[in-house]
Amino acid sequence: MRHVIAVLMENESGALSRVAGLFSARGYNIESLTVAPTDDPTLSRMTIVTRGSEAVIEQIKKQLNKLIDVVKLLDLSEGPHIERELMLIKLNAERDYRDEAQRLADIFRGNIVDVTPSSFVIEMTGDSRKLDAFIRAVDKDRIVEVVRTGPSGISRGTRGLVI
């Protein structure tokens, strides 16, 4: 099962490698991991997407909690939540493809953020499946490069992952 785990941790150097090291040392799956400081600069928030049996996911959460730098964590998959991922995609947009590329970007509510005579860079957010769909929708030969952040997640409703 796919799980999205939000982790609040001390904003210390090395904290990220403790998490990454834990996953590799214990053979856990890591699909994506995003991290950045929060509004409180002493804290970082990480969103980890992982897969495993219920027993493995339970161990992952326990082992994460055991890390001294981890303040709190929440398995977002246990309740309603929102996931968003940012993608920047560079397309080879010569004259014959410019209109098509622009239309597709509009349909997917993407923004064209860089333009040259022969290329577009499109910025797009959404859940991961939407970004996958956009990649499938554009002409494969037109894609120069794709960069994705991996999903960030937050729970729905009033309660939050705070200290």
Binding site: E10, S13, S17, G21, K62, K66, I68, V70
Partner: protein
């Protein structure tokens, strides 16, 4: 009071009540060593290799319950200590390791004796720190001691760049009495509802067994464990790490369980209907085949570490909490409940256990012309009256010591259980002897293990440590040889050490007493003589039967009821 970084390190150790630091100097820690030189409250023990510093601190910690402290330099000083740190980590031993680091300005430049100590040690420590400024030094040391000793204990590394300890830079010294870490809250109390359920299950059991481990030793809960066992009348088995937490001389004790456990302990595990696991982590050497582990039992698991619960075996009733408190609560609850509802009688179960016990699975040939290793351990037990602090290396001798030496007190059996580190025994004995200067301390070892840290005989000489080394010399890496005999058709690939030193002369060259015994008839007298030399380090080289194997044995990945028993048992039965 204004202190330099080097002085702060030593002062903080003093404020933590540290008696001994085990270490080895080098460039990056010279400022700290200079501060150490200028005081006499914290004593430094100079080892001959940094691995031994960590093992000695470990032995000190295991025998006292107090954290062991290590001080080594950067680069090779730190990497040499890693084996000792990992050893402590696997057995949850409280330890604080101070490593020197190159000056902050050159970190990352591949400077002389630079390694990424925090990176290298990360997977084998409970936590580690790189001290980035003098201001955070004292607080970091406080955190290190707190983390190492609380909750499930473990080693903590504090990496200190040389310029942080500069004697010319001084700041006011303040060492907090207590500390709060917002991201670290060890569990303080087990859930009472879970405990009530556990007791209810235990009192309905017809074939119960208690399986307890090193957590009981670490959690200072031997008294409570003994009381609950006596109160319930349950049979009890200990893991390798738990030996001594319940008196091995008691009738309810079935011996060690697992790969080299007794027949009665393993059979009782296999047939049990309720298993009470206390401070034990279902190690693979204990469980054997997971799918067939205690196939008929409801399982109660008491552990301070939530991550230990359901890691390999999913319990029916998990209880997360400190063993001492949980066991205390369990005893009270048992007594309360027992007034209303009589617990089930266990006569039939004990009858069955006694039948298994009558197998005498640890019997061995006693009329041999060669000294049997089992006999060596039994003689050691007789001569020392069971009062010994016994450290061990790793291999056959370790298993025989665990099987035949009857420990009746916790913290007396000191061995590397989780990591299985050869070379652990002698340096660990140094830490034990320093912590207990008047006690008898011995290291049981093999000729392969002892050579991995044999240089520490010099340390023993320097500090006058009257340790007794009992070397069971069979010329082979015995456990490797045993596996090769069983599973590789006796192809003894590189398990024979072809050029052994003369251990008697070697001991003598370090200034100690060396003795060699080859004849079974001389064994007891030699051991008495060795232990009679109260003030001297004696190295006793006992030549034992090289063909002897450790029995019973469960092959890796097999269930508890599939044991190899000693061929001696069947030959004896045929004769009868």
């Amino acid at each position: 009071m204004e202190l330099s970084g080097g002085e702060i390190v030593i002062r903080a150790l003093r404020d933590e009540g540290v008696e001994y630091v085990f270490g080895y100097p080098g460039g990056a820690v010279l400022h700290i060593y200079d501060a150490l030189f200028q005081q006499d409250e914290v004593r430094h023990i100079l080892v001959r290799h940094e691995q031994a510093a960590a093992h000695a601190a470990d032995g000190y910690a295991r025998s006292t319950g107090k954290p062991g402290v290590v001080l080594v330099t950067s680069g090779p000083g730190a990497t040499n200590a890693v084996t000792g740190i990992a050893t402590a980590y696997m057995d949850s031993i409280p330890m604080v390791v101070l490593t020197g680091q190159v000056p902050r300005a050159v970190i990352g430049s591949d400077a002389f004796q630079e390694v990424d100590t925090v990176g290298i040690t990360r997977p084998c420590v409970k936590h580690n720190f790189l001290v980035k400024s003098l201001d955070e030094l004292a607080l970091t040391l406080k955190k290190a001691f707190y983390i190492a000793t609380s909750g499930r204990p473990g080693p903590v590394v504090v990496d200190i760049p040389k310029d942080v300890t500069d004697p010319n830079v001084k700041i006011p010294y303040e060492y907090p009495e207590k500390i709060e870490i917002r991201s670290y809250h060890p569990v303080e109390k087990g859930h009472h509802g879970q405990i009530r359920q556990a007791i209810k299950l235990m009192q309905q059991a017809e074939r119960p067994i208690i399986y307890s481990g090193g957590g009981v030793v670490l959690g200072e809960a031997s008294e409570e464990l003994t009381e609950l066992t006596r109160l319930s009348g349950f049979p009890i088995t200990n893991t390798l790490m738990g030996l001594g937490s319940y008196p091995a001389t008691d009738r309810q004790f079935l011996g060690m369980l697992g790969m080299h456990g007794t027949y009665e302990a393993n059979m009782a595990m296999h047939k049990a209907d309720v298993l009470v696991a206390i401070g034990a982590r279902f190690d693979d050497r204990v469980t054997g085949k997971i799918e067939q582990f205690c196939p008929n039992a409801k399982i109660i698991h008491v552990d301070i570490d939530p991550a230990s619960i359901s890691k390999t075996i999913r319990p029916d009733i998990p209880i997360v909490g400190p063993v001492k408190q949980v066991l205390g609560d369990m005893i009270e609850t048992w007594k309360e409940n027992a007034r209303e509802l009589e617990p089930k009688p266990l006569d039939k179960w004990w009858e069955q256990i006694e039948a298994w016990r009558a197998m005498h699975c640890l019997k061995y040939e006693t009329n041999s012309e060669k000294i049997k290793p089992q006999e060596c351990v039994e003689t050691l037990y007789r001569v020392t009256g069971g009062e010994l602090f016994l450290t061990s290396d790793v291999g056959q001798h370790q298993m025989w010591a665990a099987q035949y030496y009857k420990f009746t007190q916790p913290r007396r059996w000191i061995n590397s259980g989780g990591l299985g580190t050869m070379g652990f025994g002698l340096p660990a004995a140094m830490g034990v002897q320093l912590a207990h200067p008047d006690a008898e301390v011995a290291c049981i070892t093999g000729e392969a293990s002892i050579q991995m840290c044999i240089q520490e005989m010099a340390t023993c000489m320097q500090y006058g440590l009257p340790i007794k080394v009992v070397l069971m010399n069979n010329g082979y890496m015995g456990m490797v040889r045993q596996w090769q005999e069983f599973f590789y058709e006796s192809r003894y690939s590189h398990s024979y050490v072809d050029a052994l030193p003369d251990f008697v002369k070697m001991a003598e060259s370090y200034g100690h007493i060396g003795m060699r015994v080859e004849n079974p008839a001389d064994l007891e007298a030699a051991m008495k003589e060795a232990f009679g030399r109260k003030d001297r380090f004696v190295f006793l080289d006992v030549v034992v039967d090289p063909a002897e194997n450790v029995y019973p044995m469960i092959e890796a990945g097999k269930p508890h009821n599939q044991m190899h028993l000693s061929p001696y048992l069947s030959s004896e039965r045929e004769l009868a």
